[in-house]
Amino acid sequence: MPTLPRIDYLDRLEAEAIHILREVAGQFQRPALLFSGGKDSIALVRLAQKAFRPGKFPFPLVHIDTGHNFPEVLQFRDQLAAELGEQLIVRRVEDTIKQRGLREPGGKFPSRNALQTYTLLDTIEEFGFDACIGGARRDEEKARAKERIFSVRDEFGQWDPRRQRPELWNIYNGQIQPGENVRVFPISNWTELDVWNYIQRENILLPSIYFAHERRCVVLPSGQLLAVTEHLTLDASDELTTRQVRFRTVGDATCTAAVESDAHTLEAIIEDILQAKVSERGATRLDDKISETGMEDRKRNGYF
């Protein structure tokens, strides 16, 4: 008789995520996978392959494009979608700004993260998506720690922490009324390190900006480094420098800080993370600092 497979914690997290993805496929009419080109959504794509091959994905990949991208990430996105043979839908914040007559965020670091919400809601309406799968994790931020895996949103995409459905056992309730939709977070229970360990175990390819490279950066007053891109307006007082850096997330390039690093491999990145005690969001997303409850405010307003 064959010996029983040994299931370690990463196998368990993987099995849970695949189970959740298949629940989406089983319970919704028009789901979508929100794909940012970042490592978490790339891990989601791998999990979707495990969940649905040899079939096709029961959902398209949807990228809400801030326009403030690192070119390496877009290239990676297009190549991945092509290799997978799956549908990729791109909707641009740029177009939402025009259509809705919104104001571009001004200032020195014009982050479009907040405006993504509008584009996302418009896209949900355009395609009639009833479930949007995202790569958010509960360890990212305090408000996220309380969010359900199936998180019901009203017509305006709003999340009400007081009215969340209790989530019992691993039974996921996707029953909704017209106009409502559900955000689904299959890797809720993963930490940043779990994702990296998984990427390593599965030999998952990532955009090059995750690995150490030379880059021209602005040094912010906080000491953080920001990549010099066409979207920043620099002035004479700005301190510029060229450093060996890597990125820990690939959001809006105007508010995603770089960390100094000489980690060229996954092993080295994991080693870096084990040593650096600076959590992902704190180190890299500038716009969460706006208020102490930054994330919670945006979630209530329909952000991922």
């Binding site: 099995a15 189970h19 298949r22 007081r162």
Partner: protein, 423 residues
């Protein structure tokens, strides 16, 4: 590396948030920037030192009220194990959250304040945990510093809790004195507790055997999704995707598809498109059958010898989670994992008093009540009792209109003793 999921329960102010903060802090799971934000917050709120409880109290409403109101998840890893903590609230009105947290936990840490000993809430949380099938308990006697690290105080509380545990049939309790605030015996043994010879709390959590996903239970698998590529290469491929809920599946097993009752053979087990001879819970797999039978989402595939009897009548314990009361005659939806069917409440059999664990008469269920009901479903369910199987013995009830989750259900009996009658 293993994974241990546990809940922490206790009354308000027993020090739950501080304890979790301490575990995260001392096991280096708290990053520098989070610490910096905490220190900043503490400076502006004029307290002085870092308040570890702020690590877990996330939502704004909580900050305003200064209490924990929902279920929060925290993660930490030691060289030995990965841990998922579910922090559940202490207030009476949030029994439902406590039920939610307990439904996914392997172990419960019951926190008591050394100055107060066992209180009403201690009993109630223990009862809910037992009800939800938790077998292992830690009695953490906190704030022992405020009682002069007294051995006698500790032993009195341990004796009181032993009586509660005995009454509820709990066999595994680890009694550990701690000071969450000062860190005594949380991660490292403490010189302040020389009389205590057992492991520190963390050491216990790192070494307690983890539930091996009930692989000794009867094999259970429900279809989540049917994979049918209908492509040129795979025109006839039909794979049944799902998670092994319990037990072991082997290639070549004689199986039964329920509720239809069709007999066939397990032709292949696929994991990530690789064929496997054997698969165990909780693996996500694709099963292929020898015969071309009609199988869809919600169907159960089980080894012939271990098959449950599909039933349309259930007796179940419910934790009722909404304001509007439940009465006999109400119609709702049962979601038994991937199977969903309409159901009617035939009778409310009684109510569990969660102080005494005694059964009482009842005609309705109100918010946070634990009641026993008899349900009749439109479609038969391939279910087990919760005693037999913590997965397939569980279901939730939904509101047909809004889809809201109304109750957690634990199956007590699948085949009822009373004669059947049609409705």
């Amino acid at each position: 590396m293993d994974l241990l999921r546990f809940i922490t329960c206790g009354s308000v102010d027993d020090g739950k948030s501080t304890l979790i903060g301490r575990l995260l802090y001392d096991s280096d799971a708290v990053s520098l920037d989070v610490l910096a934000a905490l220190e900043e917050q503490n400076r502006t709120s004029a307290a002085g030192t870092v308040d570890l409880a702020l690590l877990t109290d996330g939502l704004r409403a909580e900050r305003e009220q200064g209490i924990t109101i929902d279920v929060a998840h925290k993660y930490f890893t030691t060289p030995r194990r990965k841990f998922i903590i579910t922090d559940t609230p202490g207030h009476v009105q949030y029994t439902r959250n406590m039920v939610t947290g307990a439904s996914n936990a392997d172990l419960a840490i019951v926190l008591v304040d050394a100055r107060q000993g066992i209180v009403e809430q201690t009993r109630r949380h223990t009862i809910v945990s037992v009800l939800l099938g938790i077998k292992r308990f830690v009695l953490a006697v906190n704030k022992i510093d405020l009682m002069g690290y007294s051995e006698a105080v500790f032993h009195d509380i341990v004796a009181d809790y032993a009586a509660v545990a005995a009454q509820l049939g709990i066999k595994q309790v680890a009694n550990i004195p701690i000071s969450a605030l000062h860190g005594d015996n949380v991660v490292k043994p403490s010189a302040n507790l020389p009389w205590y010879k057992g492991p520190s709390l963390l050491e216990y959590l790192e070494t307690v055997p983890v539930a091996t996903e009930a692989n000794t239970d009867a094999a259970r698998f429900q279809v989540q999704y049917v994979i049918r590529p209908q492509s040129v290469e795979l025109p006839d491929y039909r794979g049944y995707a799902g998670r092994i809920q319990s037990g072991v599946y082997r290639r070549g097993d004689q199986v039964l598809v329920l509720p239809a009752g069709i007999e066939t053979t397990l032709e292949a087990i696929e994991i990530n498109q690789q064929e496997a001879d054997v698969a165990v819970a909780p693996q996500a797999v694709v099963l292929r059958l020898t015969d071309d039978v009609d199988v869809s989402r919600g169907d159960t595939i089980v080894p012939l010898a271990l098959a449950p009897e599909p039933t349309r009548e259930l007796e179940a314990t419910l934790c009722w989670m909404v304001e509007q009361p439940l009465r006999a005659g109400h119609k709702l939806l049962v979601q038994h994992h991937t199977a969903k069917t309409r159901a009617v409440v035939q009778a409310i059999v009684g109510k569990t008093d969660i102080q005494s664990f005694a059964q009482q008469e009842a005609t309705e269920a109100k918010l946070n009540d634990i009641v026993r009901v008899r349900l009749k479903t439109a479609q038969p369910l391939a279910a087990d009792t919760y005693q037999q199987n913590r997965t397939t013995g569980a279901f939730i009830l939904l509101d047909e209109q809004t889809g809201a989750t109304l109750a957690a259900g634990l199956i007590e009996q699948t085949v009822l003793a009373e004669p059947e009658f049609e409705i």
